[in-house]
Amino acid sequence: MKNFDQITSAHIWVLDHQEALDFYVGKLGLEVKTDISQGGFRWLTVGVAGEAVPEIVLDVPGPPVMDEKTAGQIRELVTKGATGVVMVLRTEDCFGLYERLRAKGVEFTQAATDHGYGIDCGLRDPFGNQIRILQPKVWKG
């Protein structure tokens, strides 16, 4: 028996919940899966509309989870683009989606390009996290 059957959630650092929603939901077109505020925290997750998993947790670094200095270090790394590619999103039409997102003002790091294994493009969220959009040649799952 294998240990797991699915990856259900993953986590990324964002610097502001509302700005994150404007981008991930308003521009990219993901949907809010959960949004619960209680005490000092906000549990905010997004995912692909109609798909139960995975949910991406949009989390803002800061106290009481960590001290201000540590939060500042994370903010510095995020804004320098040092968090790497935080997710790859699959599409059936990479060229078309690239144009539509560009028209919405999404900041691209690479135009939609056919690389042989598929067509992909790269973009940044407002904070500096990198995201890829891939239209694979071979569709898995």
């Binding site: 610097l15 500042g72 270090q73 903010r75 510095e76 804004t79 320098k80 683009g81 590619v85 900041e107 691209f108 790091t109 690479q110 135009a111 390009t113 690389h115 294994y117 992909d120 790269g122 940044r124 904070f127 500096g128 890829r132 891939l134």
Partner: protein
């Protein structure tokens, strides 16, 4: 860290992204400084402090990486590749390539096989950009 530093980082990253995206265009430091919304001198200084190398060097290494890719994976002539990746003179291209990679473009082409398998281009572009941070030399020595 102050929010001003974050703003500066993000603007510098925007200029760095422009180099990765439009390396084949005639990018100059003045145009990149405008993307980052700072003066040219300030841009060069803060870019270096933030990313560990000057914007000029970053762009050279991006162009050389793309030329290494084309030398490995295509049959294009060295002159065409030089122009493809944004160099305007074959002399500058060959000199820069040799300085960064340690061998000439034609020697690199002869001695290097294409990268096989299912490695995404974005990952290869990030990892195969010849580094100015010293580890490339250590690897070749080892």
């Amino acid at each position: 860290m102050s929010r001003e530093v974050e703003e500066t980082n993000r603007r510098l990253l925007r200029a760095r992204d422009a180099m990765d995206r439009a390396y084949d265009q005639p990018l100059d430091t003045a145009a990149l400084a405008r993307i980052a919304c700072v003066s040219e001198a300030h841009f060069i200084r803060t870019f270096r402090a933030t990313f560990g190398e000057t914007p000029h060097r970053y762009l050279q290494r991006r162009r050389v990486e793309r030329s290494m890719f084309l030398l490995r994976e295509s049959e294009r002539s060295i002159t065409d590749i030089c122009l493809d990746v944004g160099f305007t003179s074959l002399g500058t291209f060959s000199r820069t390539f040799r300085e960064i990679v340690g061998q000439s473009p034609s020697a690199y082409r002869l001695g290097t096989a294409p990268v096989g398998g299912a490695v995404p281009t974005c990952f290869a572009m990030a990892w195969l950009r010849p580094s100015s941070f010293g580890e490339a030399k250590e690897r070749s020595d080892g």
